[in-house]
């Protein structure tokens, strides 16, 4: 059942790629859309069959593969991966739909997008460490080519940078996975949280650190982020949508699934540092975004800031904040995809993304009024205006993290104000004001340019008004993620105490604890 999510796009890619002859752009586009649409619909079927109250993997598929290596084809889905799978299906459809009809080398293009989607779906589904790694690396190749072939002027630089960064990320993750399996004297790469518990804490911390850097590159976290703005600026719009909407989520997903899931004790130990790292990421991303002149770069830096919230919530590791990570991932996926789509339309129609060149695009006669209105929505959603998904996910992040890391949470909240600063600047410069002389004759915006953005906008508002529809799928899983570990349950216990009537001492205790970052015990102390 789950395999279809991987193999349907693959089949589509094969069809487009190996069709003997007579493959015109329209037909390959159609095949790609059908394959992606079928995969998307299939995810919805899985959602309808999914039992949210059941904790743990569902629809498991297990095929032994290379037994000597301990690698098995083992798929499964739970409340953490389900929303991301749906996001992947949806955004792939949108990316293909919003691709340029007259694109060059169309067969390769559509095939690569489908392979990319399949790789991401595989990574979200894999229940085997090595299998995850394979899919994680698989997704790298098509994305590299998509940037390197259909990118902007500096596409070679950006693509190579992306490739090197992600390869390093892959090596670190692989090393950590190998360490997990070999140091715990296992032969199988099956995902099993219990066995890392036997490792000494310092080893766990070391392995976790490798994962952190590996996934931190993907997320990305400051200072491992510089590939992202370049990749976004050079990539074409659909690729940007996929990159921001889905691929960055691989980093956070990996961090939650493998970092938090496999090393609860070490996670707890590093928690305060991670929260501080999140603050740095949020503020750095937001401040840098303010100074950007290129709209795409601004949105890219805003991504860095918003992914920082996920790390903050993950570091706090309360039931609420873990749930908030899922919500924030979905929210960022939808909102950043919308922003990139809209920036893409503006670029396509005006030929510029420069804040200094564009102005007055809200003009009802000769501007882009509907795109501008949707931009207002996207900007407000990103800045956390209530009624849209950005607000509730950020609120849950802050509310979930505050009891554990009050100072870091308050500092991260500054990020929402800074988001308002840079996106308002974008609105004011690009859409308000008088239509600039340089871009006075704009081509008409087709409805086909608008549909994908409208779909995303509707989803953003819908989940903002009714977050239950999202929360409902993930809550049991994320609660279970916290409940199964001794240290974290203790923390959960504290947390409940805080919410009770007289939680004052604990609140101030937590406050003091966060101010005085705990020292990591010296690794020497664990020597037997």
């Amino acid at each position: 059942m789950l395999s279809a999510l991987i193999w349907m796009p693959m089949l589509g890619a094969a069809l487009i790629g190996f069709w003997p002859k007579g493959m015109n752009p329209n037909r390959s586009r159609l095949i790609a859309l059908v394959a992606a649409g079928a995969a998307c619909l299939w995810t919805l079927v899985i959602v309808s069959q999914f039992n949210p109250s059941h904790v743990g993997q569902q629809f498991s598929e297990f095929i032994p593969w290379i037994e000597t290596l301990g690698l098995n084809y083992h798929l499964g889905v739970d409340g953490l991966s389900l929303p991301l799978l749906v996001l992947n299906g949806l955004l792939t459809c949108i990316a293909i739909y919003s691709s340029d009809v007259a694109i060059q080398r169309f067969r390769l293009y559509y095939a690569l997008v489908l392979v990319l989607s399949a790789g991401v779906a595989g990574a979200f589904l894999a229940q085997d460490l090595l299998l995850f790694f394979l899919f994680y690396e698989l997704e790298l190749i098509p994305l590299y080519l998509l940037i390197a072939i259909w990118g902007g002027h500096r596409r070679g630089y950006a693509a190579t940078k992306f490739l090197i960064y992600t390869a390093i990320s892959g090596i670190l993750i692989l090393a950590s996975f190998l360490g997990i399996v070999w140091l715990s004297s296992n032969t199988s790469f099956a995902y099993d949280p219990s066995r890392t518990q036997t490792l000494p804490l310092a080893t766990q911390a070391l392995l976790l650190l490798m994962l952190l850097i590996g996934f931190g590159i993907k997320m990305p976290l400051v200072p491992l982020h510089t590939w992202l703005p370049d990749a976004h600026v050079e990539a074409s719009t659909p690729v940007s949508v996929l990159l921001a909407g889905v691929l960055l989520k691989l980093g956070t997903y990996g961090l939650l699934r493998f970092g938090m899931g496999l090393f609860p004790d070490a996670w707890n130990l590093l928690g305060p540092w991670l929260a501080t790292w999140a603050v740095v990421s949020v503020l750095y991303g937001s401040f840098t975004a303010i100074a950007q002149k290129d709209m795409k770069k601004m949105v890219a830096f805003s991504s860095i800031g918003h992914m920082g919230y996920v790390l903050l919530a993950a570091a706090a590791a309360t039931p609420l904040s873990t749930l908030a990570t899922v919500l924030q991932m979905v929210s960022h996926g939808l909102i950043s995809a919308l922003m990139f789509l809209l920036v893409g339309v503006v670029y396509k129609k005006t030929g510029s993304r420069d804040l200094d060149v564009l102005s007055g695009l809200l003009n009802p006669e000769r501007g882009l009024p509907l795109i501008g209105s949707l931009m207002v929505l996207g900007v407000m959603a990103s800045a956390g205006t209530p009624g849209m998904i950005g607000f509730i996910s950020e609120f849950l992040v802050f509310r979930g993290s505050f009891p554990v890391f009050p100072v870091q949470t308050l500092l991260s909240m500054l990020g929402t104000a800074l988001t308002a600063v840079y996106f308002l600047n974008l609105m004011n410069r690009v859409f308000f004001g008088r239509l600039s002389e340089q871009v006075i004759n704009l081509p008409r915006v087709q409805w086909s340019d608008r549909y994908p953005a409208i779909v995303l906008a509707v989803l953003i508002v819908l989940f903002g008004i009714q977050p239950n529809w999202l929360v409902h799928w993930s809550e049991p899983t994320t609660t279970a993620m916290n409940a199964s570990f001794p240290v974290l349950t203790l923390r959960t216990h504290n947390f409940k105490f805080v919410t009770s009537q007289e939680g004052q001492e604990l609140f101030s205790h937590a406050f003091k604890r966060t101010l005085a970052l705990p020292e990591i015990p010296s690794p020497m102390s664990h020597t037997p």
Binding site: T203, A289, I290
Partner: protein, 618 residues
């Protein structure tokens, strides 16, 4: 039927929202064939429905106990976000007032913005505005109120930025959003902290919690200050008052709503937060200080304005300052009465100002004059509104301020002085504006000035009547003191201060081509006041430039340090490869040496950290 309406009283805000949503296709220019009128009429219909609905509910529950509804929105992990809705005479009365004023403002819009091509967009925003405001009135949950305040921030941004092609409008909209956002952010911090500490965010639960909570003084103070910041931004209080003045660049019907109801919305939330604020004496004192500074400062600033709307809007800040003082002294009832009377009188003043602007096509006071004979309804509205604002005649504000004085006469007496000063200065300012606009000789722009059409005149005259009836309403609600209980001294003081203001206002020399006083010292004072104590420049050199500097610094570091390092590594690799290629000389001994060195280096690199690992762990 009545029961049905009562049970569905939570529906009141949704009328405006539906109006706004249905209007969207017209607002965004998707439907052009019909013109914007159908959208406008649909919104009017929705507002009428909201008004009638809330009026019926108000009549029903007039003598009943307040009812509370609980709507479960999101319940997850250990978080319970249930919205309590409070249906009591006060809240439904507020909803009636909001929908009623919104109805009048929307009819007014039909005239004021008759020829505006974006009429539909304006009506959509007004519907949104009305929805958020009436939701705020009914909300009994801090979370919901916060959310609605943010929606108000958004709709203020869009309404102020309505004529977005003008540069002043663009900066005004940005400033409105950002200053309010600063307040909202601090409020959100308070909300998050409260949610953690108190567990629930419904006001009734919070009040219970506040009675037993033993917060440390520092925490209580921080919490209180954070909670004040949100309403301070909304009510345009110092130091977040900058936006209201600039927001006058927006269309006038929105200013009517903003100066009467939106600021009151912020104050209403503050009123509801009063029990939590009382946990911290510092927070209460801060309220009094903020209120005093704003009340006096804004009253002074309003006198130096030559823009008719700005002259009135600064006095809104001043009156909200009085409300802040009242809440700071824990006199919530006084605050509410003052909010009510101010809202009606100020709305009327703004309608009158709007009529003047629509007829003369200018907002500059120095270009006006002699309108009294040409625009009688507008002049009447102005006079009634002005008397409703000050304490010369026993209209609304007189009674509100009387209560204020009577309740605070035991408090530090200087507070009464503040009130009298603000009252006197407001009276002076209103007299000054009256003389410049309606009195004196007509000028080129006011020579051919017919009275406005019925779409504007009808709501204006209706509101004039309502303003005159406010004392009767107050009597109906038994908010007026009995004849014997009236404090004579207070009455004398109040009337005297208004009369003084009136007298000075009518005496001072108002030169027509009144740009600059001759004396340098006066000129400095005038500039100081007319530029609002240069507060925007102060922001410019402090917080704005700090953020700008920080962002530029960050971008520089990002580009040249972080990314520079990355590129340096890349460059070094290429350089290494390029230079090593010259080592392929054909001499096998060099190759062997290179291989040996490479293997040694690699071995060292691998075994060194591995040795550490093994040494530590195994």
């Amino acid at each position: 039927m009545n029961l049905f309406l009562f049970l569905n009283s939570w529906w009141v805000p949704f009328y405006g929202l539906i109006g706004a949503i249905v209007t969207l296709p017209w607002a965004m220019g998707t439907i052009r064939r019909t013109g914007p009128r159908p959208a406008a009429y649909f919104n009017l219909l929705m507002t009428v429905l909201a008004f009638v609905h809330s009026l019926v509910v108000l009549k029903d529950i007039w003598n009943q106990e307040p009812q509370s509804f609980l709507v479960t929105w999101l319940k997850t992990a250990d978080l319970d976000l249930s919205f309590a809705l409070d249906v009591s005479p006060v809240t439904v009365g507020a909803a009636v007032l909001i929908t009623g004023l919104s109805l009048l403002a929307q009819i007014y819009t039909l005239g004021y913005m008759e020829k505006d091509w974006a009429l539909a967009r304006f009506f959509a925003l007004m519907g949104f505005f009305e929805a958020a405001l009436s939701g705020l009135a009914l909300s009994d949950s801090l979370f919901l109120s916060y959310a609605l305040l943010e929606m108000l921030t958004l709709s203020t941004y869009l309404l102020v930025g309505f004529w977005y092609a003008q540069p002043l409008v663009v900066t005004a909209a940005r400033d409105a959003f950002l200053t309010k956002r600063v307040g909202d952010l601090l409020l959100l911090m308070g909300v998050v902290a409260l949610a953690t500490m108190a567990g629930s965010l419904n006001f009734s639960d919070l009040n219970e919690w506040a009675q037993t909570a033993n917060l440390s003084p520092v925490n209580a103070t921080l919490l209180g200050l954070a909670l004040i910041a949100g309403p301070a931004g909304k009510c345009a209080q110092f130091p977040l008052h900058l936006w209201l003045d600039e927001a006058m660049e927006g269309p006038n019907p929105a200013s009517v709503m903003r100066n009467s109801m939106v600021v009151a919305g912020g104050a209403f939330v503050l009123f509801k937060l009063q029990p939590i604020l009382s946990l911290s004496p510092v927070a209460l004192n801060a309220l009094v200080v903020i209120g005093t500074v704003t009340a006096v400062g804004a009253s002074l600033v309003s006198i130096a304005q030559i823009d008719i709307k700005r002259a009135l809007s600064h006095s809104t800040s001043a009156y909200m300052g009085l409300v802040f003082i009242a809440v700071g002294l824990q006199q919530g009832g006084v605050a509410l009465v003052l909010l009510f009377t101010h809202a009606i009188a100020k709305a009327l003043l703004f309608m009158s100002a709007g009529s003047v602007i629509a007829t003369t096509n200018t907002q500059d006071l120095t270009e006006m004059g002699g309108l009294w004979s040409r625009m009688p309804a507008t002049t009447t509205a102005y006079i009634v509104g002005a008397t409703g604002m000050v304490t010369l005649l026993p209209l609304g504000s007189f009674w509100a301020k009387l209560q204020w004085v009577e309740n605070f006469i035991t408090a530090p007496p200087w507070l009464v002085g503040v009130l009298l000063l603000v009252n006197g200065l407001t009276s002076l300012n209103l007299t000054r504006v009256f003389r410049l606009v309606f009195w004196g000789h007509s000028q080129p722009k006011t020579r051919r000035a017919p009275e406005v059409g019925w779409q504007m005149a009808l709501p204006m005259v209706s509101l004039t009547v309502v303003t005159l009836l406010v004392p009767l309403l107050l009597q109906q609600w038994q908010l007026l003191p009995s004849w014997e209980a009236i404090n004579r001294l207070a009455v004398v003081l109040l009337v005297a201060s208004s009369a003084t203001g009136l007298a000075i206002g009518s005496m001072i020399h108002l030169q027509r081509a009144w740009s600059r006083p001759i004396k340098l010292s006066w000129r400095v004072v005038q500039d100081l006041l007319s530029y609002d104590f240069y507060i925007d420049r102060l922001y410019g050199v402090t917080i704005v430039s700090a953020v700008a500097l920080m962002s530029r610094l960050n971008a520089w570091i990002d580009r040249y340090v972080v990314d520079g390092l990355v590129n340096l590594v890349g460059l070094a690799t290429i350089f290494g490869g390029e230079s090593l290629k010259y080592s392929s000389s054909g001499q096998s001994q060099t190759y062997v040496l290179t291989i040996l060195l490479g293997v040694c280096l690699l071995g060292l690199l691998v075994s060194w950290p591995l040795g550490f690992l093994i040494g530590w762990q195994f």
